[in-house]
Symmetry: C3
Subunit: 208 residues, 3 copies
C-alpha cells in the first residue's frame, strides 16, 4: 500500500463537502416529490442515482482512510461520520422507493411537513460539516448541531401526533401499516442526522 505525503486533510474535507451536497440534493428531491405526490419509476430512478453517486464518495472516503497514515481527526470519527451521512441518503431513498412499492399516489401533507424538516436538518448538517475545516472557530458548527437536535425533537413530536391520528381514525389496517412505516422511516432520517451531528460535536470537542 502506498502512503502519499501530500496533505490529506483537504482531500477529506472536499469529500465530506461532496457527500453533504448529495444529502442536500436528496432532501430537496424528497421535498419535491412529496409536494407533488408522485412516486413513480422515474422519481425512484433519480433518487437512486443520487444515492449511488453518494455511495461512491463514501467508498472513496473509506478507501482513503484505509490508505492514509495521518488523518485530520480520529479515524473512528471519520469512519462513523461518512457512514452515518451515507445512511441519511440511503434512508431518503428507501422511503421514496417504498412509496412506489406501496403505489401511493396521494399528497400527504404530514409527509410534506416531514420532508421540510428533513431538508432543514440536512442543511444544518452541511453548515456543521463546513465548520470542521476551521475547528478553532467552532461556534457556527456547534450551533448547527444544536439545530439538528432541535429538529429531531420536532420530528419525534410530529411522528407521535401523526401516529396518534392514524390509530385514532384509520379504518383500513393495511393503510395504517403502510403509513406507520413511512412515518417511522421519516423520523429515522432525523435520528440519523442527529447521529451525524453527535460525531461532529465529538470531533469539535476533541479539537478544542
Amino acid at each position: 500500500m502506498g502512503f502519499s505525503f501530500l496533505p490529506k486533510e483537504s482531500n477529506f474535507f472536499i469529500l465530506f463537502s461532496k457527500q453533504a451536497e448529495f444529502a442536500v440534493t436528496a432532501a430537496a428531491l424528497f421535498v419535491e416529490v412529496t409536494t407533488k405526490g408522485i412516486y413513480d419509476e422515474e422519481t425512484v430512478r433519480k433518487m437512486r442515482s443520487i444515492e449511488h453517486q453518494a455511495d461512491e464518495v463514501t467508498h472513496e472516503i473509506i478507501e482513503r482512510l484505509n490508505k492514509t497514515f495521518i488523518t485530520p481527526f480520529d479515524r473512528e470519527d471519520i469512519y462513523t461520520l461518512t457512514k452515518e451521512l451515507d445512511s441519511v441518503i440511503d434512508m431518503i431513498y428507501t422511503i421514496t422507493n417504498r412509496m412506489r412499492v406501496y403505489k401511493i399516489k396521494e399528497i400527504n401533507l404530514d409527509l410534506v411537513e416531514f420532508a421540510n424538516v428533513i431538508e432543514k436538518s440536512v442543511h444544518a448538517l452541511t453548515v456543521a460539516i463546513e465548520g470542521l475545516k476551521d475547528t478553532k472557530r467552532p461556534q457556527a458548527a456547534l450551533d448547527s448541531c444544536i439545530e439538528v437536535n432541535r429538529l429531531e425533537n420536532i420530528g419525534d413530536n410530529m411522528r407521535d401526533a401523526i401516529l396518534g391520528k392514524l390509530f385514532d381514525t384509520a379504518k383500513d389496517p393495511i393503510y395504517l401499516v403502510k403509513w406507520k412505516e413511512i412515518f417511522s422511516f421519516a423520523e429515522e432520517v432525523l435520528d440519523i442526522c442527529e447521529d451525524v451531528a453527535h460525531v461532529i460535536e465529538s470531533i469539535l470537542v476533541k479539537q478544542a
Copy 2:
C-alpha cells in the same frame, strides 16, 4: 483542551453509578405504570424527566472521555457502556410514550410481567457496574452478567408466547399491530441490557 491530572477513575465510576441509578428509577416507574395501566401525559412527563437527566450524565461521561488522557478501561468500552446504558432508559421511555400515543388504558398482565423482568435485569446491571470498581474480584459482576443473559432468554420466550397468542386470538388487526410493537420494544430493552452486560464482561476479561 486542558488535561486534568486528578484521578479520573473515580469520576467515571461515580458517573456510571449515577447513570445506572436512573435506569433503576426508569424501570421502577415502568413497573408502576404498567401495574396501574395509566399512560397519561403526567406519566410520560415523569419518564421523560428521568430520561433527560440520564442523557445529561451520558453527555458528561462522553465529554469527560474526550478530554481525559488516561481512562480506567478502554475508551471504546467506556463509550459503548454509557451509550448502551442510555439506550436502556431511552427504550423504556419510548414504550411508555408509545402507550400514550396509542391511548392504551388497560392493564396488560403480560406487559406487567415484562416490566418485572426488565426491572430485574436493570438491577443485575447495577451490581455488574458496581463490580467495575474492583476488577480484581470480578465474580459478583460476572454472575450478574450471566443473570442478565438468562433474563434476556426468558424475555425471548415470553415475547414468542405472547406473539403466538396475539396472532392466534386477535380479531382486530389494529390491536395486533399496536401490541406486537409494544412487546417487541419490551424485548428490545432486555436485548440492550444484554449488550451492556457484554461490554462489562469484556472489560472484566481484559482487566483479569
Copy 3:
C-alpha cells in the same frame, strides 16, 4: 491475564472458518425447511443448536481477541467480523422461530427463492473468509465480496416485488403483517452478509 507467544494468526483463521461453516449449515437447513414448509419445534430446535454452537465460537474469538496482544488484522475488524457473522446465523434462527410462532404450515415459493439467495451469499462469504489467510492474493476474496453485494441488490428487488404483491393482493391484514415481517427479516440476512463482506474488503485493502 496471560499472553501466549504461540502464533495466534492460525487460531483466528481456524475459528473464523468454523464460524463460517455454521453459517453454511444454518443457511442449508433454512433452504431445507422452507422447501418443505415445516416450521415445527423439531426444526427450531435444530436451528437453535446451530446458533448456540456458533455463539460459542463467537465468544471464543472475542475472548481470544481480548487476551491476544498481536492480532493478524485490526482488532476492531476482527471484532466486527465475528459479530456480524454471528448476526447472520442469529437472523436465520429468528426467521425460522418466528415462522413457528406464526404457525405457518405452507410452502411459500418466494421465501424458498430468498433462502436460495441467502445460501449463495453465505457460500460467497466462506470463500471471502478463506481468502483472509492469504491477503497477498486477494482476488478470489474480493470477487466473492462483490458477489455478496450483487446478491444483496437482488434481495432488495425481490423484497420490493414481494411487498408490492402482498399489498396489492392481501385481503387479510394479519396475513400481511406476518409475511411483511418475514420478508423484511429475510432481506436483512442479506444486508448483514453485505456488512460482513464490507469488513473483509476493508481488511484486504489495509493489508494490500
